[in-house]
Symmetry: D2
Amino acid sequence: MIIVLKPGCTDAQLTHICEKLEEMGFRHEVSRGIKRTLVGVIGEEDQLRNAPLKAIPGVEEVMSVLKPFKLASREFHEEPSVIDLGHGVKVGGGYLMMIAGPCAIEGEELLHEIGTKVKAAGANVLRGGAFKPRTSPYSFQGMGEEGLQILRRVGDELQMPVVTEVMDPRQVELVNEYTDIFQIGARNMQNFNLLNEVGQTNRPVLLKRGMSATIQDLLMSAEYILSNGNMKVILCERGIRSFDSSTRNLLDLAAVPNLQGLSHLPVVVDPSHATGRPDLIPPMALASVAAGADGVHIEVHSCPEKATSDGAQALLPEQYAEVAQQMAALAKLLNKTIPAAGSAS
Amino acid sequence: MIIVLKPGCTDAQLTHICEKLEEMGFRHEVSRGIKRTLVGVIGEEDQLRNAPLKAIPGVEEVMSVLKPFKLASREFHEEPSVIDLGHGVKVGGGYLMMIAGPCAIEGEELLHEIGTKVKAAGANVLRGGAFKPRTSPYSFQGMGEEGLQILRRVGDELQMPVVTEVMDPRQVELVNEYTDIFQIGARNMQNFNLLNEVGQTNRPVLLKRGMSATIQDLLMSAEYILSNGNMKVILCERGIRSFDSSTRNLLDLAAVPNLQGLSHLPVVVDPSHATGRPDLIPPMALASVAAGADGVHIEVHSCPEKATSDGAQALLPEQYAEVAQQMAALAKLLNKTIPAAGSAS
Amino acid sequence: MIIVLKPGCTDAQLTHICEKLEEMGFRHEVSRGIKRTLVGVIGEEDQLRNAPLKAIPGVEEVMSVLKPFKLASREFHEEPSVIDLGHGVKVGGGYLMMIAGPCAIEGEELLHEIGTKVKAAGANVLRGGAFKPRTSPYSFQGMGEEGLQILRRVGDELQMPVVTEVMDPRQVELVNEYTDIFQIGARNMQNFNLLNEVGQTNRPVLLKRGMSATIQDLLMSAEYILSNGNMKVILCERGIRSFDSSTRNLLDLAAVPNLQGLSHLPVVVDPSHATGRPDLIPPMALASVAAGADGVHIEVHSCPEKATSDGAQALLPEQYAEVAQQMAALAKLLNKTIPAAGSAS
Amino acid sequence: MIIVLKPGCTDAQLTHICEKLEEMGFRHEVSRGIKRTLVGVIGEEDQLRNAPLKAIPGVEEVMSVLKPFKLASREFHEEPSVIDLGHGVKVGGGYLMMIAGPCAIEGEELLHEIGTKVKAAGANVLRGGAFKPRTSPYSFQGMGEEGLQILRRVGDELQMPVVTEVMDPRQVELVNEYTDIFQIGARNMQNFNLLNEVGQTNRPVLLKRGMSATIQDLLMSAEYILSNGNMKVILCERGIRSFDSSTRNLLDLAAVPNLQGLSHLPVVVDPSHATGRPDLIPPMALASVAAGADGVHIEVHSCPEKATSDGAQALLPEQYAEVAQQMAALAKLLNKTIPAAGSAS
């Protein structure tokens, strides 16, 4: 931690700053430059970070040298984490997770039909929402527990691990009975009590980046889960807010290698929510694999014009099959493995 | 709702679109322009909004004519809402709410000292956090119920209504026992289950705008609370994410008249979180009043360098007194009233 | 300047870094912390800034301690600059500039009519565009030199200083013959050759903030003009890009005190381009004065539905008169002076 | 064009609107919905767009049905444009442009060395800046004409087409003598006079997206060049402004298929300026090719720590060779061709 003093900082102020630091148990070194005096502070940055040093008179700026996340960092865990998702599927360290399925669960027959098709196309994780966070209170809010039961049955029949969103700490226990992977949606990325709650389970968590979350914010939210003891966190880039309205959000694909450089956690990409446009999903899915993503999440619906949620952004099963084949070819070129679901237990 | 057809949309596709609309019970009118054909759809926009019209082949774009919020709109309630906060304080329709207090509750004596000073300076609502949403799991998370008890006692002693944040649907019942006003923080603006929960109480809710929420998103979140029967929603602009890091967030002051034009709900401004800089808070507080805000929310701490949370952005009580006096002069010029707390019951 | 070393930085790399610094003539101090080693570099930051220190192996980050602008800074010139605009009008240091007029000059009679009305309402600078930067090549591009002649004649008749945009270094000489103040538009804020050109005149320059310019970017662009010898720069906040499309741009009003804290240059606000909405212009104009702005720039047109450019965002002369009166009352409350144009020569 | 009327729009206002439209020569159709009345306007949208319809009393909103760009659109030119760059290199329609070279030209020997290496690695266009737009007036501004001469000589010797930036309309004639391709930098994307000037030459133009330019803004700037008669425009995505400071800009890779869907012009990507980080450039270069880009632009320097400009973001020649080989493998998989420079004249 480095403290930059204001140009006119008095000796009395400097003495006060040094006393404060000593009081808190930190070593410090004063360094006088041509235009500014600096105080280097040596000690645990976490403790320093919580101290309101900037409020002390004479201080112009406080600059952090270390990142605030620890368990999520490469310094804590050098090698990429590989997370077991069940049914023979793994993610991270060269294994790709291919998530596909409808936005919302709308019925067993339909989910089974979509699931069968996406599995045949190469998907290895089935998705479907039972609790839907909708911008409007007047929109369809999901089938709830009935949806969870359908998802579980279809996953078992198809021998695919399933992922579904949990929106409320009170739902964690219930959802935990049915799902293989929790999804935390973008709007809940900083719902810290929910993060604590899934952190106390032993289940993989797909943590979506919030619409205005920085790379560091996302890793700090992962840190909430990790610090509760659950090390199975999968990060998901799904687009952030921007000034251009021609796509739903702005896909930040550089977040993939950026996160992978800072953290050992797997990083998957959701081009469906990021772009909201079926014409852009296939090229962005390929680009995700090329960028080194550990997985791709795509919404698929066999009749988008009848979907209860986000139909306009779903691919048809045959469109998914095409892009999945291209992703497989690309994965092969890059020496990545796409585990087949159901190939092991 | 207007459907714009793609340039090459076939007659069969157009017929299919019209059949879909009839099936859903909507009237429609086809209008052929020079380069594009349009279909005007007449019916309840809410139902239309939920129909995935964009997924139908041949559709280029779907344009909404109406806003999706209703209970929050001026069309539903023409006059500005005036909300009673207790202890003689009201907000909206010419009454200003002057919220002041520390970021986090740290002890009874300190809160009492700060509360006494800000009340003397003209504040009419006391704030203080007992549950703190912190980016890092390693930061101070608040005093919890003990903090709520302190806040209640100090509020009663000073005869000021109090406001405190609720972060979790499971805390609503508890917080409801102690507070006069719920605060929903920016990170929870789209925590829909939490909105539903406070919507089922009868207590005023200070709803803070999310960091990447549009004006419409904020009103849709208010709509969640309103549609549960609680009409006492106070909107709060507190800065949004931007590319300039010289302030903590970017204060969108035009949101004040923008929201007031669309909605009858009071709109207050929080320049403390918006700027994160004590030097910018006073001018932004004055600008908020000049922009027509129904209240101003300012963090005040008598010893910022000892604060457990956000000390660097707090004003000293004497700084608050100075800006509060200027706000009062400005309010008078604009024919606004600042109710004194404790003047009535 | 502080160099943060990578965790695994070798002694050979550190030696190389230190040799590089000595070669460039800088003193340095090595400081070993618990997790990171730092190198403090003492010398002229400008020279350091241009050295690609981050490209040296072993370097994790390079942190600047000083701001890169000099002539624009408060450290260079402590007191607020007061700039003389002619016809008795000044801006800065307590004097407010009230700019009003149509977006584009469309004819002498019309400009004279608008100018007469806004002067009567209290405006002290007349604006009008002769060269118009338009997003589309198919839109009206301005009247050119004929427009300049009209502006000059009307300004002289009404005894008001005039301001008009210059878009091209080749136009500077021509525009200089007619205008009292150059305007550099938002799209040209980083047109460095144009900045150099107006920097070589002796005329005040109204420099508008670019749509994605940080506070520092704006001051660096001012620095281009100042470093050419022209110290008469007036900064203008006119809204930046954001994700909310309900206003044309996002007015960053905190930029006013933020810039005034860093720089001695006057700062004016343009709520017309910032919001693009006549209903939001008056409250934002008042808020600008309350925030401490040194002037307000408002587009006024006597028949907006016939305007050739940006008619939808213009105020009517009677609307301007109303808000100008309120701004005057507010200025009085804040002890600011609005010089009357034509009161002196 | 569709005009949405305000809820309380009077019959007199509606009549006035219809008269205005007739006066301007447009047909119109009035459509009364449940909550809003619409007026559909039939006629040339360009003329409508320039009419300030929103300023007419009673109008709530004006919605465009058509895009404002024409010559740049797929509707004007259905097939992808293929542009000849000289020395046997083409871009667009399956041909990839591989641009490499230093940020700034610093000397003939160095440029020759870098050029030789990048050509051997597969680059087919050599870049180098002679006029540098720098944020600070105190930074190196480029070698000027001497740099252009060096670039021309090295390009001729290596039989590679060359690209260099032009910043000022007054430089167009000079730069035209030396370069094969003009580059318009991000800061000048809306320097409309400069666009007009290069539009009057017959030389390919690499048009970089501005930092806050929407997809449509970029196409409108291309339209300036095209409407002057120069149809050889190559669009370049190079990152936009965002709230995350961990990369220099935010690479919007979805812009590639988004632009290609709307326009026939080739689209290349510059991951160097987009990320500003050597570790992120290779994955983003691969992702660009996978996303369907028509070319990739990468800065390469043989001694980044001595570069006069942007050294910290340059790849070493050996790093470039590695990523170029991977891009070639990927291009082959996707059936794209990378023309070798010098293979034809």
